[in-house]
Every structure is written in structure tokens, then in C-alpha cells.
């Protein structure tokens, strides 16, 4: 009965608070808005899976609401001072705690119904694009609520209620809420390797959901219900149990006792009886007089005193120390594997990675939380302890109070950064890296990030002052923070409009902050102006005295708006306007400002206007002369060039179309060597048409001269150009004019095309149609002879493909003259920088690595890979046609790696900084081998512009690299690679927009031509042997090396492979390349009987299935009749006792083999060589029951 009363009272009380309704509103608005902001991977966003996922994510944010509700329920009595009345009433702990908990729980549970409602509302909005939402499936919402929202609520409520009731501090409760979220993210990040275990130990179910739906193809993702799968139920049960345990703990530890009297701190020895003054000394009190100052200096001192005292109060709070500990914890856990690269290898913890990625990434959010929380604490600190009357009556001006507190907040941030810097250095040292660069730390942590934080702190403080409710203030600050992070999704692109934002920055060891500093500073100054205005507002609305109520405060604010305030406001406004104007001038006048939609619109327009010219006869570039002057310091580059264009078509050409794709390039002049009239120039698409006075006859040539310049002016709102920087210039063909309509410039994404009113993108021509035989490169050049002279600063080296003919100095600059020996694919990369060079030789080939001094961790490895690759490839596929091979590093403003003739350009940090230790997979080795392989595949062998073209370059490069890796580093490494490739292929399948096609028809799906391709080729090699595969590739290269039409397609590759594959394996070849095939095999049971002579007979029951899938994953079963490996393993070593392919058909079957020793495990396809979604059931353990021949099963 008492429980019921307490429960009822709690519910009534909660319903009467306006904050409850505010929370409810937020819980509906959040998912609603979220549905607007995310662009799904093309599937229905209200598919049951998507609803569940969105519910979990919103549920995470809702933990803050839970913290507020349960924190209040548990601490209200002590906070209001009512606890003596409650604690002396005859109620049991269980009733008191239970009633409060259940009351808050029911309210919270009802509020959380807002999440499915918000999601549902979003799907009903009429303005949503058709196709984004599918039919309404009520079960999806109900399942999400019951499986995820409710249990998650119970868990977080139990924890937060316990924390609140035992610490009696709402601040601690809030921070526990935040800590819960952080712990959750960490748990996801460091999930145990076994997916089942990861799915179990995940408290909020996100991992479990991911595990369940991991390999669902798009068709299933749209419609399949989550249902009540076993592992999910176990997970929920486990965590509900944890919640119950926590509540039990609370019941045990909670006492109806006066807070403060029951401390467990050590008792100090020796009683300190306070000395009492004598009775009634009588006589009045005489106070010595002291001078007082209220002028400027006095105010300054008061400000500093307030700042110091406030800072001290913050720093000694246990909650602050707890958060600090949390930040350090996050630093060390996230930072341990800094540089999130593939294969779980990490990067050397170079300072900028630690400072920028670790300390400014996730830790940044923690710092923001700290700022928000302590801004509130600072503003409320007197009122919290009921000292406000005394403090408000002291002769301290409002601005001094405000300034002092802000200074304390700033001091806290500085302190934090110092601690983080120390942590970062410790992290580096622990990993054995001692090149601390304190200058970089200082610039990033105390320069860039500090500016960000201070501006945010100003906002947080102003919000807390104006909004006179501590928890609403926190909520608003959090909402604001989240909003600024996702503003882009809501259409606010311009950095002048989103509080505190800037165009972003990237730090490169090669070129520092490059062109990012100046814009950053201007934007921060602009926002500082706004921060000043906020500070003024805070000053006007500073809470002092007992007058609450909006109208009163507005009146007070008006009264405070003195002349001084007005002039300060005017100054701030002036700052905002002038800086804003200056920035606007830079971003919108000197540069083009375009939203992503507008930029896409330009490309759509380009297609609409000029696509009709596609395929019109155009001359091809056969030779190029380039004179480049790079000025890294400015930065700028000037380029004079001449193309020799030849009419290789069968008909006369009467006009030449030119396309300039890079908007940063300005064409100063463009001249043909014969009369030509410009009939069209389209500034937007940079498309121009020149009509030749006399048509160019087939076989004839003409010369085109151009004068280009790259001189960026001011800075844009985003996408600051980095092609030329102080150290590490890198630009290529795309600066130069292109001949003829370029299909590569069109919009590709299906959704984008729809948005701009374009029909769906026509697919590439199929591989077997002869008309599709055109080169794969930008369609205006085959092989080009290049003669380039590049000038750069006196201390830099310039590099481009070709032999270095001459090198000289002139006017303090250095000049390099390169000439290609024979015409080469025309990528025209130009790099320039202050490199350190390491040299080596392989046979007659000069090997060189141009790298940033200091990035010398992997040079040995890279050289080794180059040599091993050159050796293997030239032996297996064909000779290497050049006398040099170079690797050049370019700044990390751009990513990736690009292979050019005998020149491989690598982004800073990718291969150079990868850290390979012990038996890590040597990613650096692999990547170098892959890029070197491109010298054959893509370099010597150039495919046709047709479907499946990528097979010839990327897939073959993957295969080649895997082979070199296996030969040099061992089969184990290659095998791990193989597993990785398989996993990424399967994962790539789930993305809806990646319509899957058989390998031979791949267009642009990376997960196919990289990952499935690697799987397919390696599998083939396993079955038919290395010699055969390599022979096929060698023949392919021999036939098409010339590089003239007709160009090879994937069908040519297939034909060569088929020729070397025995007939019995032709079906496998078809399965891998021509179809989308998936297998599903599993071992169900194993029986073991000893047969006397120490041998054992093993009988394995297996089930097998084979399906073909279509582009969105709808499967059809087909009869299976394939050779699949059966393996039996025993003992500690991983070596098989038996491993041979057997013929496996669809359905169940029994296989019996004999092995020499006692087996422990047996299975079908134990090494996962078939493409399967579920590999866990391939192997079963043997449980001994010898004589009886018991059946053992294990899953």
C-alpha cells in the first residue's frame, strides 16, 4: 500500500513538472529530425531493422533524460531538505526506493514511446522523397520498443537511480549518464573478437543488432523483422539481470540516514575539542579599518580572485576528477590503436595523429561535456548552496562576476589541455615513440582546439545565465552542440551561419597546417565577436537577487543596458559585421560558394547540355610539352603547355571540344596553331567548342597551346585547395584541358541524379559488345609522349614520369627536365617537395623512395616489397618496361595512392606510418605490391571502357599482391588477408545502393573488384595452381600489351582463365566470375570410432546448399555438386590430420574418412574457402565416446 502511494505520488509529481513535457517533446523531436538528416544506404528507412537501429541511437541520447528524471526522483528529498520528514516515517527502504523508481520508470517508459512516434511521423511527412520509406510495418516499431527501448531504459534507469540515491548528487548522476554512453561506445569499439560474445556483452543491443543483420542483403533489409532471435533474448536477459543486481545493491547500501554524518573517512586521532571563548566577554567589537578600492584595478583583482576561487572549487570536486579520469581512459583506449587502418594494424603514434585524432576527436566531446556541465555549475554555484543572498548583496559588479567565472572556465580548459598533452606524450612513450613535437601539441591543443573550446564555453555560459533552470540549460547546450555537429545535414552549409564553425583543418607533417590557418583564424575571430555579444547578453541577464520570472528579468536587462553596455555591444556588432563581411567577401566573392546541391546541379547541367556531343569524333592527344613553374610559398603554379592532337578517327573533325574540370584553374589563353573560332564558351561547365576553319582530316594533326594558372584567392567556405602547398605539391592531368565530352564528370549516384531530374545513369557497355571498345582512361589520350620542364623552389625536388634529362639551377630555383622514353598512359602527375631519398637497385632498375624526412619507419619494408614484386611479376607476367621505380609521398590533405608509370604517389601516413609488429599483417608490404602490380595491370594492360573493366586492373593487382605476399611473408599472412577480403565482400553486399553484379560485369563496386575479386582469384589459384593462373595472365598481357584498340575486356581475361582450367572445374569458374553464388555448408554431427591400429574412423554429417543471388540479394537455390574440402584436425597444432576435397551435393550427406590419430575437430570447408555468410557452423568438436560411438554435436 505504501509502495503504491509513493508510486502514485511520484507519478503525480512528475506530471506536474513542465520539464517532463519538455523531455517528452524532445524525445519525439529527436528521432523525427534524425530521419531527416540521415540518408540511408538506399533501403527503406522505416524497415524494421532501421527502426530498431534508430531506436537504439535515440535511446542513447535519451539516457540524459533518464538521468534527469531518476536523478530528481532520488535526490529531490535531500535537495529540498525534506529528507528528515521522510526518513523518520515508518516506511521500508524497499517501499521508498521501489515507489520512486517505479514511478519514474513508468513516466520515462511512456515518454520513450515518443521515439517510435517520432520515427513514424517522419515517415508520414508528405515532403519526404518517395522510395525513402516503405510500407508501415507496426511490428517493427513494437519489436524495437520491447526489445531495445524498454530493456535499455530499465538498465540505464537502474544504474542512474542507484548512483543518484547513493551519492545524493545530481551532478554525479548526469556524469554517470555521460559515462554510461562513453562506456558503451568503448564497449563497441573494443568488442571481443567472437561476434557471439560481442553480441552478448553489449548492454544496449547495438552490437547484437549489427551481428544479426550483418550479412542481410538489401532485399531482406527492407522487409525482414528482427523477430525474437535467441542471442538477442539472452542479451536482454543478461542485462536485465545486471539491472536487477544493481537495484539489489542499492537496497543493500541505502540508509535512511542523515547525509554527512556517516562518512567513512579515516577518523583523525585525538579529539579536537573546540576551544570555546570565555563567558560573556562583554564589550563591543572594534574592527580595524582597511582601505577598499572599487576602481579599475580593484575590479581586475576581484575578477582574478573570483576566477581563482571558482577554478579551485571546480578542480577539487570529485566529479571533475572522475571526468578527467574518464578522459584519460578514453585517450589511452582509443589512442592505443591510433590511426584506424585496415587489418587492425595501427600507425606509429606520430604527434599530429595523437593530438588531432585522439585528443581532438572523441576526447573533444568529453571536453565539451565538461564545459557545458561546469558552465552550469559556475553560474549556479551560490544558488546551489543557498549563499546567493549574501553573494548578491556584495559590492561586486555583474560583469566582474561573469568575467571571473568565464576565466575560471577558460582556466579549466587550459588545465585539461595540459593534462591531455601529458597523456598524449605518455601514450607515445608507452608505444616506444619518442619524437614528441611539443610545438605541434601546443599549436593544436592550445591554439586551434582552445579557440574552439573558448567560443563554445562562451555559449554555454550565456545559455546558463539566460535560461534560469540548470537542467534545461544543460539540455539546451547539448542540443546546440549536437546541432552544430549535424548542421550540414539540415541544409546549413555556410560556416558563417553555424556557431563556432570553420572550414576545417588538416595537419600534415610535410606542410603543417598549410592553407588552413588563415581561414581558421578569420572565422574564429568572427565567432569571437558573436561570443562577445553573447557575453554581453549574459551580463544583461545576469541573475542577481530574488526576482525570477521572464518579464522581470527583461526589465532588469533593459535597466542594465547603460551607455557602456551599448558601446560594448556596438563594438562587438561592428566586429561581427566587418569580419563577417571580410569572410563573406572571401568565400562568396573571391571564390564560388556553392552548396553541395548546387555543385551537383552544375554537373547535372553539364550533362544536360553537352552529353549529345558524347562520342562525336575528337582528336586524341599523342604528345604533350609542359613548362611548369611551381611557387610553393605563395602558393601558386603557372603552366604553359602544348598538346599534339591527332585525328585517329575515320572522319574529318570540324570542331574541337575542350573541358576544364578543375574550377581552381584559370585559363589565361588557349591557342590553336591554325585558324579556329570559338563558338561556345560555357563558364559554368568550363566547356568550350572551337570550330576549325578547315576540318582536320583523318591522320592529320594540330597543336593546341594553353596558358594556365593556379592562384587561389582568399579562401572558400569549404574545400580549401591543397594541390600546391608550401611543401608537397601534387597535381595531375585534371588541371589540363580535356578533349571532348568527359563522361567522368557526370553525376553518378542514383539518388542525386533523381534529385536533379536526370534519368538513371546508363550502365557501361557490356563486355561483349564490340562498340564498347574504347580506352578506359580519360577518353582523349592513349599513350602520350611527354616532355616536361618543371621549376620549383631551390630546396625542393620536382618529379613526373619520364627520364630525368637535365637538372639545373636558375635564379635561385631548381629546374627538372623530364622526357618519356616511349609514349605512356597520360596521367601527368607532378609532385614537388623537400624530400629525403633512399635509393636501391633491383637488377637494372633504379629504386627510389622520396619521403618526408622522419617518415622512415617502413622504408626497408617498402624496398623489400618493391624488389619482391618486381621480381615475381617480371618472372611470371612479363618484363618490367622501365629502368626506374619511384615512390613519392604527398601530404595527407588528400588521401589514397595512385600508380603512374614507374611512379607511385602515396598519401602521407598511409604506408609510411603504418606500424607493423611481430606477426601483424604487413599492410605496407601488401599495398606497395598492389601499386607495383599496377605497373602491369592498368599500366601495360589497359582495359576497355566496358563493364568488368576494373577486373583487369584492380582485381589482378589484388591477386598479384597476395601472391607476392604469400611468397615472401608466408601462407599464414596471405590467408589472413583472404579472410579479410571475404568479410569485406560480404559486408559490401548489404549496402543497398551497391547493386551486386557478377564479377565479369562489375562497374564501380569497390567491394566487388577489390574484395570479391581477390577472393575469386585466390580461390581459383588454390584449386588449379599458381602456374596455371599465372600463365593465363601472362598470355593476356602478351596479347594486349600494345595498347591499341580493340582493348581487352573481362571476357578476354575469362577466356584465358578458362583455357587453363580443367573441364571439371569450369563450373567453379562460372560460379566465381559469371554468377553471384553463395554457399551454405555446415557440419552437423561427427562420430568417431577407433579402429584398433591407433587410427580412427571419422564420420561427418554435413548439410550443403548453394544459391544464386540477384542484384539486391534475393536468393534462389540451385543444385550443388562441387568439390569442397573436408578437414579433420587433432591436437594442439593447427595442422590437419586430413584435408582433401570431396564431392558435395545439396542436402545432407555423410562422409567417412580415416585418420592416423585421435581427432578433436572435424568440419567441412574448414578454411572458409567457399563464399559463405555463416562460417561458424563449418566445424564441430568431437566429444569422445569411443566404443558406444556416441554422436557429438556442437555449434
Amino acid at each position: 500500500m505504501k509502495l503504491r502511494e509513493i508510486f502514485r505520488f511520484e507519478v503525480e509529481y512528475r506530471l506536474r513538472q513542465s520539464s517532463t513535457w519538455v523531455y517528452g517533446g524532445i524525445l519525439v523531436a529527436l528521432p523525427f529530425l534524425m530521419m531527416h538528416a540521415i540518408n540511408g544506404a538506399g533501403g527503406y528507412m522505416n524497415a524494421p531493422w532501421g527502426i530498431a537501429f534508430a531506436s537504439i541511437v535515440t535511446g542513447l541520447l535519451a539516457v540524459l533524460v533518464t538521468a534527469a528524471l531518476f536523478g530528481d526522483a532520488a535526490t529531490r528529498d535531500v535537495a529540498a531538505g525534506m529528507h528528515p520528514l521522510f526518513y523518520t516515517a515508518p516506511i521500508r527502504r524497499a517501499d521508498y526506493l521501489g515507489g520512486r523508481f517505479l514511478g519514474a520508470l513508468s513516466i520515462n517508459a511512456v515518454l520513450l514511446v515518443g521515439i517510435p512516434i517520432g520515427l513514424l511521423l517522419a515517415s508520414w511527412m508528405p515532403y519526404m522523397q518517395p522510395g525513402k520509406f516503405g510500407p508501415f510495418v507496426p511490428a517493427g516499431y513494437v519489436h524495437a520498443y520491447l526489445l531495445f527501448i524498454l530493456p535499455n531504459l530499465v538498465l540505464s534507469a537502474a544504474i542512474l537511480f542507484t548512483v543518484a540515491a547513493l551519492t545524493r548528487s545530481t551532478l554525479a548522476t548526469y556524469l554517470a549518464g555521460v559515462g554510461l554512453l562513453i562506456a558503451y561506445f568503448l564497449a563497441i569499439e573494443f568488442a571481443p573478437a567472437s561476434p557471439r560474445l560481442a553480441a552478448l556483452v553489449d548492454p544496449f543491443g547495438g552490437n547484437a543488432l549489427e551481428h544479426l543483420t550483418r550479412h542481410w542483403p538489401p532485399a531482406e533489409r527492407n522487409t525482414r523483422l528482427i523477430g525474437f532471435p535467441e542471442i538477442l533474448l539472452w542479451n536482454r536477459l543478461l542485462w536485465l539481470g545486471v539491472a536487477a543486481g544493481v537495484l539489489g545493491l542499492l537496497h543493500l547500501r541505502f540508509r535512511f540516514a542523515h547525509p554527512g554524518g556517516a562518512g567513512r573517512r579515516k577518523q583523525r586521532p585525538g579529539s579536537t575539542d573546540r576551544e570555546r571563548p570565555g563567558i560573556a566577554p562583554g564589550g563591543p567589537v572594534v574592527v580595524p579599518s582597511a582601505p577598499r578600492e572599487f576602481g579599475g584595478r580593484g575590479r581586475a583583482r576581484q575578477t582574478v580572485a573570483i576566477a581563482g576561487e571558482s577554478l579551485r572549487q571546480i578542480v577539487v570536486q570529485r566529479t571533475f576528477l572522475a571526468i578527467l579520469a574518464g578522459a584519460l581512459f578514453v585517450t589511452f583506449t582509443f589512442g592505443w590503436e591510433v590511426g584506424d587502418l585496415v587489418f587492425g594494424t595501427s600507425s606509429w603514434p606520430v604527434t599530429h595523429l595523437v593530438a588531432a585524432s585522439v585528443l581532438s576527436g572523441p576526447v573533444s566531446t568529453i571536453v565539451a561535456v565538461l564545459i557545458a556541465v561546469f558552465a552550469g555549475e559556475l553560474v549556479w554555484k551560490e544558488r546551489d548552496v543557498r549563499m546567493s543572498d549574501i553573494a548578491d548583496a556584495a559590492p561586486v559588479p555583474d560583469w566582474v562576476s561573469l568575467a571571473g567565472r568565464f576565466l575560471a572556465l577558460a582556466g579549466m580548459i587550459v588545465l585539461l589541455q595540459a593534462v591531455l598533452m601529458a597523456a598524449g606524450m605518455t601514450l607515445q612513450a608507452l608505444q616506444g615513440y619518442t619524437r614528441f613535437e611539443p610545438g605541434v601539441y601546443l599549436r593544436i591543443l592550445f591554439g586551434l582546439k582552445l579557440a574552439d573550446y573558448l567560443i563554445f564555453a562562451a555559449l554555454a555560459m550565456a545559455v546558463h545565465v539566460v535560461v534560469d533552470h540548470k537542467y534545461a540549460g544543460h539540455l539546451i547546450v547539448v542540443v546546440f552542440y549536437v546541432f552544430t555537429m549535424f548542421a550540414g545535414q539540415f541544409g546549413l552549409q555556410h560556416n558563417l551561419l553555424v556557431y563556432g564553425s570553420d572550414p576545417g583543418w588538416v595537419y600534415s607533417d610535410m606542410s603543417g597546417f598549410g592553407p588552413f590557418v588563415a581561414p581558421f583564424v578569420w572565422f574564429k575571430l568572427y565567432w569571437a565577436g558573436w561570443a562577445l555579444l553573447l557575453a554581453l547578453a549574459a551580463n544583461l541577464f545576469w541573475v542577481r537577487g530574488r526576482e525570477a520570472g521572464a518579464r522581470r528579468r527583461v526589465g532588469m536587462a533593459r535597466a542594465r543596458f547603460t551607455r557602456a553596455a551599448a558601446s560594448a555591444a556596438a563594438v562587438a556588432a561592428l566586429l561581427v559585421l566587418t569580419l563577417g563581411g571580410f569572410i563573406f567577401y572571401n568565400t562568396n566573392v573571391l571564390n564560388e560558394y556553392r552548396t553541395p546541391f548546387e555543385s551537383a546541379g552544375l554537373r547535372a547541367e553539364y550533362e544536360r547540355r553537352y552529353k549529345r556531343f558524347e562520342g562525336a569524333p575528337q582528336p586524341a592527344v599523342t604528345a604533350a610539352e609542359l613548362r611548369v613553374e611551381i611557387h610553393p610559398g605563395e602558393p601558386a603554379a603557372d603552366l604553359l603547355g602544348t598538346f599534339r592532337l591527332v585525328n585517329r578517327t575515320g572522319s574529318p573533325i570540324d570542331s574541337v571540344h575542350l573541358v576544364n574540370v578543375d574550377p581552381a584553374i584559370r585559363t589565361r589563353s588557349l591557342v590553336f596553331d591554325r585558324p579556329a573560332e570559338r563558338v561556345l564558351v560555357d563558364g559554368e561547365g568550363h566547356y568550350s567548342i572551337y570550330r576549325l576553319e578547315r576540318a582536320l582530316q583523318p591522320g592529320d594533326s594540330l597543336r593546341l597551346s594553353f596558358d594556365l594558372t593556379f592562384r587561389p584567392r582568399g579562401f572558400p567556405n569549404s574545400g580549401i585547395p591543397t594541390a600546391v602547398v608550401e611543401n608537397g605539391a601534387y597535381f595531375d592531368r585534371r588541371w589540363l584541358p580535356m578533349i571532348g565530352y568527359q563522361p567522368g564528370f557526370e553525376l553518378v549516384g542514383a539518388e542525386e541524379r533523381r534529385e536533379h531530374g536526370l534519368p538513371p545513369h546508363p550502365p557501361l557497355p557490356p563486355a561483349d559488345r564490340s562498340e564498347g571498345r574504347r580506352t578506359q582512361l580519360p577518353g582523349d589520350a592513349d599513350l602520350v609522349a611527354v616532355d616536361a620542364v618543371i621549376g620549383t623552389d631551390g630546396d625542393q625536388t620536382a618529379i613526373t614520369p619520364g627520364t630525368l634529362v637535365r637538372e639545373w639551377r636558375e635564379n635561385g630555383r631548381r629546374y627538372f627536365h623530364y622526357r618519356t622514353e616511349a609514349p605512356l598512359p597520360f596521367g601527368a602527375p607532378v609532385l614537388s617537395g623537400r624530400y629525403a631519398v633512399v635509393e636501391d637497385r633491383w637488377g637494372d632498375v633504379d629504386l627510389r623512395i622520396f619521403h618526408h624526412p622522419g617518415h622512415d619507419f617502413n622504408l626497408e619494408r617498402m624496398l623489400r616489397s618493391m624488389k619482391a614484386s618486381l621480381s615475381y611479376f617480371s618472372e611470371q607476367f612479363g618484363p618490367y618496361p622501365f629502368d626506374q621505380l619511384r615512390i613519392v609521398e604527398f601530404p595527407r590533405y588528400t588521401g589514397g595512392a595512385r600508380a603512374h608509370p614507374h611512379t607511385i604517389a602515396f598519401s602521407e601516413g598511409s604506408a609510411f606510418l603504418t606500424r607493423v609488429e611481430g606477426d601483424d599483417v604487413d599492410r605496407t608490404f601488401f599495398v606497395i605490391a598492389h601499386e607495383t602490380a599496377h605497373q602491369w595491370w592498368g599500366g601495360q594492360l589497359v582495359g576497355a571502357q566496358a563493364r568488368g573493366g576494373a577486373l583487369l586492373s584492380e582485381t589482378l593487382a589484388q591477386y598479384s599482391a597476395m601472391m607476392v605476399m604469400e611468397k615472401t611473408l608466408g601462407k599464414e599472412q596471405a590467408r589472413r588477408f583472404y579472410d579479410y577480403e571475404m568479410d569485406h565482400y560480404l559486408r559490401g553486399r548489404q549496402v543497398f545502393t551497391n547493386r551486386e553484379v557478377p564479377l565479369l560485369e562489375v562497374e564501380d563496386q569497390k567491394y566487388l573488384h577489390y574484395h570479391k575479386g581477390a577472393v575469386a582469384m585466390y580461390t581459383l589459384r588454390e584449386r588449379i595452381g599458381e602456374d596455371r593462373v599465372n600463365t593465363a595472365l601472362r598470355r593476356l598481357l602478351q596479347k594486349h600489351r600494345a595498347g591499341v584498340p580493340p582493348y581487352p575486356t573481362s571476357l578476354d581475361l575469362y577466356a584465358e582463365l578458362r583455357a587453363v582450367t580443367p573441364d571439371t572445374l569450369h563450373p567453379l569458374l562460372r560460379d566465381l566470375f559469371q554468377e553471384i553464388t553463395l554457399w551454405d555448408v555446415g557440419a552437423e554431427a561427427v562420430r568417431v570410432e577407433p579402429v584398433g591400429t591407433g587410427e580412427y574412423r571419422v564420420t561427418l554429417e554435413v548439410a550443403a546448399k548453394k544459391v544464386r543471388a540477384d542484384s539486391i540479394g534475393v536468393e534462389t537455390e540451385i543444385p550443388m555438386d562441387d568439390m569442397v574440402e573436408i578437414g579433420v584436425f587433432g591436437g594442439a597444432s593447427g595442422d590437419p590430420l586430413y584435408l582433401r576435397p570431396h564431392r558435395i551435393r545439396s542436402g545432407r550427406q555423410s562422409i567417412t574418412v580415416t585418420v592416423p590419430r585421435k581427432p578433436e575437430r572435424a568440419g567441412i570447408d574448414p578454411y572458409g574457402k567457399l563464399i559463405q555468410r555463416k562460417k561458424e557452423d563449418n566445424i564441430v568438436k568431437v566429444e569422445e565416446s569411443a566404443a558406444a560411438g556416441g554422436v557429438a554435436t556442437d555449434r
Binding site: M1, E5, A89, P90, A257, G261, R265, D273, R274, A280
Partner: protein, 302 residues
Amino acid sequence: MELQIRNLSKRYPNGVQALKKISLTIPQGMYGLLGPNGAGKSSLMRTLATLQEPDEGSVRLGDIDVLHQKDRVRETLGYLPQEFGVYPRVSAERLLEHFAVLKGITERRSRREVVEALLRQTNLWEVRKEKLGGYSGGMRQRFGVAVALLGDPRLIIVDEPTAGLDPAERVRFLNLLSELGENAVVILSTHIVEDVSELCSRMAIIDRGEILLEAEPLRAVDELRGRIWRRTVPRTELREVEREHEVISTKLLAGRTVVHVYGETSPGVDFEPVEPDLEDVYFTVMSGHCGGRGVEPVEVGV
């Protein structure tokens, strides 16, 4: 039923010894506990009200072991703490009803009657529907009394109830309390001597965790008759007088300093004998002339 306190001691984590082996026997009726601030009154009250654990000692209320049978105590306890707050946005009537249920009055009709009776008695009936946040200090105090009196308690502990009340409210409040002594043990802990002299039939004086005196107020005053002397002293001579005589208290009367001095015989010609009151008892005990410091408390007139 009487309350028996034996050897109660309590030391706080910061080293302060709040209670030093306190022993008292408190019968039914109004019992005053007098002492200066920091004497240990609130610590003692909180311990008796089951909110704090002592380090050693025992307390029995009739046959209930107060320290170890907290639930039983709470069933018959009314506690008005020295400081308490209220939920500002709840009405007095609703909150009192809530507490009535918590105190075991679960049947609705009788609960309504009790709540109404208490609200009327504490003169809050007219304002019962107003939010507690708008109550004055006196009204809040009376609300606290109403809560304390729910459920017909047998042990009523009132801690510094009249501090902060204006004279009229104080009289009203004391009137309220005066009725209670009939059937319960009522402990009134205060530093305002008049409260004790007006209400209590028995009292104890406590200072620095020790009981200095246990007595009936009237008898204690009687004992002092003829031993208290008064003199008006100019401020400049005050120091000298303090040195030479046993001054127990110094007061101001219309701007002039008046000292009370303890003496078996007249201390001097300027001194006139004065009729002692409880305040004099208090000051005499505090200055060590009567009752022990570190000595067995003197029981006067038991």
C-alpha cells in the same frame, strides 16, 4: 513509558566529539534540552530520531530498543527537525496526506479526518490548498508540526522550533506544543531559555557533548535564590569587574551594561540582590558554578 538514554557517545569523521557518554532518563511530558549552539543537541536529537548511529550507548523507549528497532520507533515517532525544506510546488494538504499514508494511515476516510484535524489545529486549514513554496517561515514550521503529529506519536522530538518565528507565531507554536505532553515523551531542544521555562516540567542542560545539569526548572531556580546579584556597570569598568567578581552574564538594558554575579554573599555595595530566573540558572551552570564540568552531573531537586 519513558525514554532511557545510557552512555551515548558520537564522534564525527572530522574529529569532533559531539556526544560524550550521555545518560538521561526522560519521562512522559515536556522535557527541555537546553544548551548553546554546537553543544550536541541536534546530534542527540537526530540519534533519537533514528537518523544517526552513535558510536556507543543504548536508548530504550519503553520496551523498544531505539537504536536497533528503528522501524518500530518510526511507527510512533514525530520529528520536527531544526532545518527542513518542502517541495515548493505541492500543496500542504496533498503532502500531508502523502505523509499520512506513509505513517500508516491507509484508510481513506480516517486519513481525511486526521488531516483535516491537524490542519485546523495548526491553523493551516485556510491555506491548505496553496503551494508550500509560498508559505512563510512560521507556516512551514506549523506544517512540520502537523507532519510530526500524524499517527499519534508517543515520542515527539522538536529541534529548535521557535528560532526564526516572530513573537506572535512563537506564542501560537508553544501553545500547540503545550497540549502534547499528556501522553507522549516530548523533547524540546532549544537554546532559547524562555521556551523551556514556559513549557517544560523537566529539563537538562547540555554543553560540549556532556550533560551539566538535570533538574526541574522551578526547583533549580529556587536553589539559586539569594545568590544572584546585579549591578549596572559603565562599559569602561567592565573588564575590571569581570576580573574581580564571578560574573555569570552581561546584558544590555536600554544601552547600559548590566552584569549578574554569582555569590553566596553580596559581592559589594554596588550590587543588589535579584530574583533569579531560569536564565540565571543556565548561565550559572555554564560558567561552572553549579553542576560539573567533567564531574558527575548534579541532580537537583529530583
